[in-house]
């Protein structure tokens, strides 16, 4: 009888220990999950107003102390273009044409609405200056200075014929594909597609 009871006690103790280990692992997982509160922004549009929204939100998130990752893909890749950048790569005829047609840098991007051949944007920029609203380049620089991570879609750049020498902050920008960005997005609580 005594032996039975003592073996039962040993069994119960073993189970408690196992449960304690499982609880500890769960707590660690919860802590890890709580730490994952990055903000990921996919900048797909190469339009001035949409990029403005992206960088405003990025700055706000950085102000809140969050880690911010921005993924520039397709038309959004033009935001990273450097006006004075020179490519050393040989380009196809269509890539050359795209290079000429697409905005030379973030400042040259058009408005998505009411652009009126650049006149609408001119009016908006004037009004923003009057109201002391930061312009797009300032927001971009600020985001960068506050530690935002810039990622550029490799395929989009190749398609549009942009060379890495033609891009801003080329040393600090990460060249990546969909999977590497998704692995970041999976660790983020907020992912925006703009």
């Amino acid at each position: 009888m005594k032996q039975e009871i003592s073996s039962q006690i040993i069994d119960t103790e073993k189970k408690i220990k196992q449960l304690e280990i499982e609880l500890f692992m769960l707590k660690e997982k919860i802590e890890e999950f709580q730490k994952q509160d990055n903000v990921a922004i996919i900048c797909f549009s190469g339009e001035w107003d949409k990029l403005f929204a992206s960088f405003s939100i990025a700055n706000g998130a950085l102000g809140l102390g969050k880690e911010v990752h921005m993924f520039f893909t397709f038309w959004g890749a033009t935001a990273m273009r450097d006006k004075n950048g020179k490519s050393s790569k040989r380009k196809s005829l269509s890539q050359k044409a795209l290079g000429k047609i697409l905005p030379a840098n973030i400042n040259a991007t058009p408005l998505s609405k009411m652009n009126f051949g650049g006149f609408g944007k001119l009016l908006m920029k004037k009004e923003m200056k009057k109201q002391n609203i930061d312009d797009l380049q300032t927001l971009m620089k600020q985001a960068h200075d506050l530690g935002a991570h810039f990622h550029c879609c490799d395929t989009s750049l190749q398609l549009l014929g942009f060379d890495c020498d033609e891009l801003l902050e080329k040393d600090k920008t990460d060249w990546c594909g969909v999977s590497s960005f998704l692995s970041i997005a999976l660790q983020s609580k907020v992912t925006l597609f703009i």
């Binding site: 405003s56 706000g60 102000g63 809140l64 102390g65 930061d134 506050l146």
Partner: protein, 80 residues
């Protein structure tokens, strides 16, 4: 010895999200226990500063609003 001090920030004339950026920058250099006195006239600032404090774990110890001008004193509770 930690350097506890009062920091004054004048963000009048700045528009969202600039006042919060300035506040976040000031907080980076502030030791716990320091007070940041910030004044701003952006319409979004009132709700933004409350959200900022709630998210970052800092405390509003004084809040004053006259017309559109908001004056807030924030106690820094943790190191960034």
């Amino acid at each position: 010895m930690e350097n506890i001090e009062d920091i004054e920030l004048d963000c009048r004339g700045m528009k969202c999200p600039r006042p919060i950026i300035e506040l976040a920058k000031a907080k980076r250099n502030a030791s716990p226990g320091s007070i940041i006195n910030i004044i701003a006239d952006d319409l979004a600032f009132e709700s933004d500063v409350k959200a900022w404090c709630q998210t970052t774990g800092n405390k509003i110890i004084d809040f004053n609003k006259e017309e559109n001008i908001v004056k807030v004193s924030i106690e820094i509770c943790e190191v960034s």
